[in-house]
Each structure stands twice: as structure tokens, then as C-alpha cells.
């Protein structure tokens, strides 16, 4: 195992270099740039700005400048905000993280519960009902779900605010502030959870179905263990093995923001900023953020690989 870990860590280097090259050159191939998006500039003015921002340099040279700065921990300077990229991301990333974390926890808890129940009661009314809901959610675009939720809970019932992260113009501090944020958090988390549960619950249901037919579960039952113990202790543990992979996908998602949901709920998150940066082609911001997510992706896959061995000692990776 130690050899494997060492090898994996070694492979990180070419993987990340490959990723950085792909990311940089993909962005440099995208049509349009920051200066072009201002229609009122004269050609002369554009040429001046090109030189100012270094757009007139060859792509290869720009790549090495970028990667050089990156290695020194410098993500660059956002063209649109005229602030360092890490500062801009810092302004937005945590509000995305809160929503993502809250909905991640909820999604997994509910999905596991649904998955287990619909597996042990396969083809029951409950199972059927949940199946239908899952597929109905699948046929619903996220902006649509968002609009429906706002319509019912914010506009008609007035239970929760329609969007934003704090009450506009408020100066709460301490508990009042947290309470305010929590209230604003409810609807976006609800939407993200509703969108996320379906797929996960299907995976868990399938895994559970696989596991409960296996001998050790029968043995456990035969030993006279309580059904609840059988299901949640013996069966579930084994059914969750494949979930490690799924969990590995969730780590980068915690920081990458949800573009559409954030837009609809006016949540000051990084997804909305990313999209906005795209419309004006703020490449330093776009590339810095993408590289950050890439790093998280690669690491979470590494962690997932290591966890397989822990969770199922039979697994031997070489």
C-alpha cells in the first residue's frame, strides 16, 4: 500500500501539469477577450489595452508567465474587478460553500434513507412513489424548480425571503446575523437538495439491492439479529462502498458553486461570478478558479482511491 501511495503522489505531478496545459490552452482558444467586449473602444485604444494586459504576447509565453506566477501562489489579477483573483474568489467562495455543504449533508442523509427503504421495500407503494418523484425531478430543469419554489414559499406564503444572503440594508451582528443568513439559506438549499437526492437515492437503492441478497446478510438475519441492525449495520456499511467514489466527486463540487441556482436566488456565490466572468472573458479569474477546482478534483480522487482499501480490505490496488 505504501508503494501505491508513493506512486500515486508521483503521478500527481504529470496529471496537474497536463491539467494546467489543457486549461490554459482551452481558454486561450475561446473566441473573444476582455478588451473586445467593450464595443465603444476605438481600434487604437484596443491596441493600447492589448499591450497593457499582455494579450499581444504569444500564447506559449503567456502560459509560462501564468504557470510561473501560479507556482509562487499568485493567481493573477482579475480584469473585471481590478482586484487580485484570490481576493475576488475569497469574496464569493464561502457563500457557495455554505449552501453546498448544507445541501450535501441533507442530500446524503435523505438519499441514504430513501435508498435503503426503497430497497428493502422494493416495488412497494413507497418505492414507486419515490421513483416517480425522482424521475419527475429529472424532467425538471433547475431554473424551473427554483422558480416554483420561489413562487410558493417566498411570494405566495411569504415564509422565506426570495433571494440574497442577508436582508438588504440590515446591520445585524452575532446571532441575529446568523439567523438572517440561515433564513436566506433555506430555499436555495432546498432546491439543490431536491435536485441532488434523486440520482444518489437511485445509486443507494441499487447498491442496497445488491447487498441484501448476499449471504452475510442472510446469516445475520438467521442469527436472529434485529432487522434494523441487519439493515443499517451490516447491509448499509457494505452498500456504501461504491459511495466513496461518489463522495469523491462531491468535494470539488463544494467549492465550485451552482450557477443557475445561485442566479435564481441571487446568492452571492462563485458560480454566478464564474458565469459573469465568462461573459466578459475575465481569463485570469476564470483560469485561476478552474485550476483551483482541478486541484481539488485530483486530490479528492486520490483520497477516494486510498479509502477503498480502508473500507474494503479485500481491495488490492497496485
Amino acid at each position: 500500500m505504501k508503494g501505491y501511495i508513493f506512486k500515486r503522489l508521483l503521478y500527481l505531478i504529470p496529471t496537474l501539469i497536463g491539467a494546467s496545459i489543457l486549461i490554459f490552452f482551452l481558454y486561450s482558444l475561446v473566441p473573444g477577450n476582455f478588451v473586445d467586449s467593450d464595443m465603444n473602444l476605438t481600434l487604437e485604444r484596443k491596441a493600447e489595452l492589448y499591450a497593457l494586459y499582455g494579450f499581444d504576447q504569444p500564447v506559449i509565453k503567456r502560459y509560462f508567465i501564468w504557470i510561473g506566477n501560479l507556482l509562487q501562489g499568485d493567481l493573477g489579477y482579475s480584469l473585471q474587478f481590478q482586484r487580485p483573483v484570490d481576493e475576488v474568489l475569497g469574496n464569493y467562495i464561502w457563500s457557495s460553500f455554505i449552501v453546498a455543504l448544507a445541501s450535501l449533508i441533507l442530500t446524503w442523509l435523505i438519499a441514504i434513507l430513501i435508498g435503503v427503504v426503497s430497497a428493502i421495500r422494493q416495488y412497494s407503494v413507497f418505492d414507486t412513489f419515490v421513483t416517480i418523484l425522482v424521475f419527475a425531478a429529472m424532467a425538471t430543469p433547475s431554473f424551473f424548480l427554483g422558480l416554483m419554489i420561489i413562487k410558493f414559499f417566498a411570494v405566495d406564503l411569504g415564509w422565506f425571503p426570495a433571494g440574497g444572503i442577508i436582508t438588504t440594508g440590515s446591520n445585524y451582528t452575532g446571532w441575529a446575523y446568523y439567523k438572517d443568513v440561515a433564513q436566506h439559506l433555506v430555499l436555495p438549499v432546498l432546491v439543490l437538495t431536491m435536485l441532488g437526492i434523486g440520482g444518489l437515492a437511485r445509486y443507494f437503492r441499487t447498491n442496497m439491492l445488491e447487498v441484501i441478497k448476499q449471504d452475510f446478510v442472510r446469516t445475520a438475519r438467521a442469527k436472529g439479529l434485529k432487522e434494523r441492525v441487519v439493515v443499517f449495520k451490516h447491509a448499509l456499511r457494505n452498500a456504501l462502498l461504491p459511495a466513496i467514489t461518489l463522495f469523491g466527486f462531491e468535494l470539488p463540487a463544494l467549492f465550485s458553486g451552482a450557477i443557475i441556482t445561485e442566479q435564481i436566488f441571487n446568492w452571492p456565490g462563485v458560480g454566478a461570478v464564474f458565469m459573469q466572468a465568462f461573459t466578459v472573458r475575465d481569463y485570469p479569474l476564470l483560469m485561476g478558479f478552474t485550476m483551483f477546482i482541478a486541484l481539488l478534483t485530483v486530490f479528492s480522487n486520490l483520497i477516494a482511491d486510498l479509502l477503498y482499501g480502508v473500507a474494503d480490505p479485500r481491495v488490492r490496488l497496485r
Binding site: G32, G158, A162, T168
Partner: protein
């Protein structure tokens, strides 16, 4: 057995969902059929101000805000120093704090701002601005002619990175400062504390406003200024000091920008203690409905108008924008060298149907490149008719003859035209109709959708034949035609222009007399009809709702709400 039940339950549930949906349809049928009767004969909606029917319906959330007014705004870029922003939304934020020397009224005419009055010399080359008595910046320091001089000098600085091209005004000595060794600009003379005189080299009707713009404090923004280095300013972009009705308090990225009433404002401290721009990414309807916003501009159409009427507490304002929408030709393509072909493309497009279907009466077909709000507008020039027969005739005359497959040909080349547009919006309606219209003429219209930035890049490259655009708000009618000049560097109009058109365009700014300018514009518009640079599409309306608890918003097509912010007042709805 269980499997069968599974299937049965599933079928029942699906049926229930569909039935529920159908019920929904029936319950709304009454309303909508009523509405569609209106749709059949779309008539142009007039500009109007409609008072709220039931101001009492205003949500408690809004009523609780006793001294604060909130308006929605798209996320700005966070550069709150005038002349340095790239995002137009930064411009909205700036205009709360930075009134210009010369304001614009709802007819597009110049009216006093920070300058009480101004004189233009006989030869129309020298502008003298008289500042108001006792002007103060919001930090309490005096605003004088020196600050005006500093602002104009800054704009001439060789390292100025923003988008304002001050050299267009041709101030005497301006280029010497920008490109040469000069230590100051010889054409700018401070007469006394509140009088400044600026001499230009050429008569230009736009100079009055170009030179009479927003003012930066020399004591604040000029601290440490050395010619050729403006980098120090970036630290001040988030800490603006202006002289407007409100003073900047805080910017919470992705959430809001807060302002407080400025007691130093020349027109007196506004009644409203706090003004907030709440930043929004998507729709603003729901925020207006729940009372989170006091003012909201909506896409102008019948649906949104009915929405404002239904919620009851909205004062509704419909006004015409000063911008116009158009479809540009690629004048570098051989096809469009012949004006007859361009005229055929205009006549053969059923613009009325497109505009009516999309805007439901909240826009009209454009006839000349200026909006009806402007003093330069006239109904007498240009046409909005749809005449496919005439269009076919023009194409025949231009040598494009009917081909075997219904698509016209000339010298073996098919009449295939690539049209670039951004996804969504008017395009969804325009594309199907334009395709049908042009097919009837024997033109094969190929459509490509892309995001706006990519569209600009592709058009710059000259890959398009036709592309859709809209102008920004046009404070002067000259801005609506300046790109048609052969010296214009706009990529969109590369290859267009002639000495005749150039001369006519130049004539429109060669005088400061409005009547003479009107005449010049009329001549230009007539010539443009013969040699069309674009397919003019529409003048759109802007629809805005104000929560009836707030009075004083007077949006206009040139400056939006910014010039009326100083008059905001909160009223108790039950009293009004």
C-alpha cells in the same frame, strides 16, 4: 404480483399528475383567452405613468423600511471611479455620487447640473462653464474649477486606461499633453474658483457634454498624481468621493451597495436617509413583489405590465428608450456592396410582425437611426413597410436571379446568408420569421447563435453576413450615426461609408444650434435611406414599477433614474 401493483400505482400517479396539470389549464383559461383577444391586434403602447390602484397592498417588508429605498441593479464590477469602469453597471453606481456639469433631460437636451450655466463663444470653439455657488464634495471639501481642470487633465493622461476618448473634443494642447512633453493643457484656463474656460480646435456639438462630465476631486483623486502613472488610483476605486445626492457607504460584493444622504449636496440633503442598490443576477419580479425592491425595471411587454397591474401597489411608468436595435450588414462582403441588395433585405423582412410578436406593443419598428424621444426624430423619413414584391424586384435588378431550387443565384453563387445572433431574447421570435420571409425572397438564411462576446469577436473577424445589435443609451443623436462614418473604427461597419455620407455626418456636429442640427440630421437620414448601413429594427419601451410608498422616481430614456434620485420621498401609502 408486486410488480403489477408497482406498474398500476405508477400509472395512476402519472395520470393524476397529468390531470392536475390539465385542471390548471382550465382554471386559467378564462384569463388568457381574454388576453389573447388583445394580442390579435397589437397596437403600440403609449408612454404613460399609471398610479397604483391599491397602494395599501404594499408588502409589510417594504413598509417596515422607513427611511431606506432599494433599487435592483446587475452586479457591478466594483470600479466606482468615473471614467475607469468597464462595466456599465459601475456607471449606474457612479451616477448616484457623481452628477455631471451638464445634465440631460427627458428630451435629450442639455440642462444645468453642477454647472449653473455655460457660454459658447461666437466661433463655437470656446466653452465657459459657471459652477454653482458653494459646491462641496461629500467629504466636505469645496468643488472648484481646479477639480474640473484636474479631471480633464487626467483624461488626457498617456496612461489613462479607461474607455472615454476625450481627444474627440480636440481641446487645444490636449494632444501635446497626451503624446508630448507639455506639462499642462494650454486650452484649459481657470478664470476664477467657479469659472473655467476651455478652447477647442474644431466645432463639435458633443464637446459641451464631453467636457462637462463628472468631476473628480483633485484633493482626493489627485493626491500623488504624476503625469504618466495612474496605477495609484486603483486603491480608490472602492472608496469613491463624489458630489451627488448620496454618499458611498459600503459595497458588499454580490449583495448590495449602500449609500447615505449627502448633507453637502447642492440641492439640499435628500429626504431619504439611505439608498441601496441591491445586486441581482436574474429576474427581479419576485423581489419587487415581495417588497424587497422599491423600484424595478422589467422587460417591457404585456405580461409584465399585467403583472404590475395585478399586484396593485406599483406605480407603473412606461417610457421610450433612447437606444435603437439593428441588424448590421457585413459591408466587406461583395453581396452587400450593392445598395439595392441591402434595400431588398430591409423591405423583405416583416419587421412589424416580429416586433409585435415579441414586444406585444411595447416597441415600434425603427425608421431612422434615432429614437422618437430625441429632438432629431422625424416620422417623415424612412419606411417601416414590408414589401416582398419590391424586394424581389430589387434583387432581380441587382443580378440575383431565381435558381432551380428556389434559392437565387448570381454567377453560379447561391444566395446563402449567415446571420449571427445571441441566444434567447428577440432572436427566438426573429429567427423563425426571418427565415420564412427570406426564403420567400429566394434567400437561404443560415442562423448561428453564440454568446455576445463570441459574437463580437466573430464580427470583428468579418465572419458574418448579418448580425444583431442594439446601441447603448444615446445621449446625442450623433452617437447613433457616428459609426457610419468611414473613419469610424467600429468593426461592425468596416467597409461602409462614402465621402457624401461622411460629409453629412460631420455636418451634424458642426454647429451648436439645434435647429441647424435638426436640418443636418434630416439630410443625413435621407441619404442613409438610399444607402442603408443597417436594417433598423426597433425602438423599445422600458417598463418600470415603483412601490407606491416611494415618490420621486422619474426615469428617462437617457439617464435612467439617476437624475431623479435626489427627489426621492417615502410616503405612507394610506395617506396618499
Amino acid at each position: 404480483m408486486k410488480l403489477k401493483r408497482h406498474l398500476k400505482v405508477m400509472a395512476t400517479l402519472i395520470l393524476m399528475m397529468i390531470l392536475a396539470a390539465c385542471n390548471n389549464v382550465n382554471s386559467t383559461e378564462g384569463e388568457t383567452s381574454e388576453k389573447t383577444d388583445l394580442d390579435e391586434k397589437v397596437t403600440l403602447v403609449e408612454d404613460a405613468i399609471i398610479k397604483a390602484e391599491s397602494p395599501d397592498a404594499s408588502p409589510q417588508l417594504a413598509l417596515n423600511r422607513e427611511d431606506t429605498v432599494i433599487v435592483g441593479l446587475q452586479e457591478p464590477g466594483g470600479i466606482f471611479t468615473p471614467y475607469f469602469n468597464t462595466s456599465g453597471y459601475d456607471g449606474n453606481v457612479q451616477s448616484v455620487m457623481f452628477p455631471p456639469l451638464v445634465e440631460v433631460n427627458e428630451a435629450g437636451e442639455s440642462i444645468p447640473g453642477l454647472a449653473e450655466s455655460w457660454d459658447i463663444s461666437e466661433d463655437e470653439l470656446t466653452y465657459t462653464y459657471h459652477l454653482r455657488e458653494g459646491l462641496l464634495f461629500d467629504d466636505g471639501t469645496p468643488l472648484t474649477a481646479e477639480d474640473v481642470e484636474f479631471t480633464l487633465t487626467l483624461l488626457h493622461d498617456p496612461s489613462y486606461p479607461g474607455g472615454t476618448d476625450i481627444t474627440e473634443a480636440k481641446v487645444v494642447g490636449g494632444l501635446d499633453y497626451k503624446n508630448g512633453e507639455a506639462e499642462d493643457i494650454s486650452g484649459i484656463q481657470i478664470i476664477d474658483e467657479k469659472t473655467i474656460e476651455i478652447t477647442t480646435e474644431e466645432v463639435n456639438a458633443r464637446a459641451l457634454r464631453l467636457l462637462g462630465g463628472q468631476i473628480l476631486s483633485k484633493g482626493y483623486y489627485g493626491k500623488g498624481y504624476e503625469k504618466g502613472d495612474l496605477d495609484y488610483l486603483s486603491d480608490l476605486h472602492l472608496k469613491p468621493v463624489g458630489a451627488g445626492p448620496f454618499r458611498f457607504v459600503a459595497y458588499l460584493p454580490g449583495q448590495e451597495i449602500r449609500f447615505e444622504a449627502n448633507e453637502h449636496f447642492y440641492d439640499g440633503k435628500p429626504e431619504v436617509a439611505q439608498f441601496i442598490y441591491k445586486t441581482l443576477e436574474g429576474d427581479s419580479q419576485q423581489f419587487f413583489q415581495t417588497g424587497e425592491l422599491d423600484y424595478s425595471a422589467l422587460a417591457a411587454n404585456q405580461d409584465n405590465f399585467e403583472f404590475l397591474q395585478e399586484i396593485g401597489f406599483a406605480d407603473t411608468n412606461i417610457y421610450t428608450s433612447s437606444a435603437y436595435g439593428y441588424m448590421s450588414f457585413n459591408h466587406e462582403k461583395e453581396l452587400f456592396k450593392d445598395p439595392k441588395v441591402r434595400q431588398a433585405f430591409i423591405l423583405g423582412l416583416d419587421r412589424q410582425t416580429i416586433i409585435d410578436a415579441y414586444y406585444q406593443g411595447y416597441a415600434q419598428v425603427a425608421n431612422i437611426p434615432v429614437s422618437p424621444t430625441s429632438w432629431a426624430y422625424t416620422e417623415d423619413i424612412g419606411s417601416t413597410t414590408y414589401d416582398p414584391e419590391q424586394a424581389k424586384k430589387l434583387l432581380e435588378e441587382a443580378g440575383w436571379l431565381a435558381g432551380s431550387d428556389g434559392i437565387r443565384e448570381k454567377e453560379g453563387e447561391k444566395l446563402v446568408v449567415y446571420y449571427f445572433t445571441s441566444a434567447g431574447g428577440l432572436g427566438d421570435v426573429l429567427i423563425p420569421i426571418a427565415k420564412e420571409n427570406y426564403k420567400e425572397l429566394g434567400i437561404d438564411l443560415q442562423v448561428e447563435q453564440m454568446d455576445f462576446n463570441a459574437l463580437l469577436a466573430r464580427v470583428e473577424n468579418g465572419d458574418h453576413d448579418l448580425a444583431s445589435f442594439s446601441t447603448t443609451m444615446l445621449t446625442d443623436p450623433y452617437n447613433g450615426v457616428s459609426n457610419f462614418h468611414s473613419k469610424s473604427q467600429s468593426a461592425t461597419f468596416k467597409g461602409y461609408g462614402s465621402d457624401k455620407i461622411d460629409g453629412l455626418i460631420d455636418a451634424t456636429i458642426a454647429t451648436n444650434d439645434i435647429e441647424e442640427r435638426k436640418l443636418a440630421f434630416n439630410n443625413l437620414y435621407k441619404a442613409l435611406e438610399e444607402d442603408p448601413p443597417v436594417i433598423l429594427m426597433s425602438y423599445t419601451k422600458v417598463l418600470s414599477g415603483t412601490n407606491a410608498r416611494v415618490e420621486g422616481f422619474e426615469p428617462n430614456g437617457y439617464r435612467g433614474i439617476s437624475s431623479s434620485l435626489k427627489n426621492l420621498k417615502i410616503v405612507n401609502p394610506s395617506e396618499s
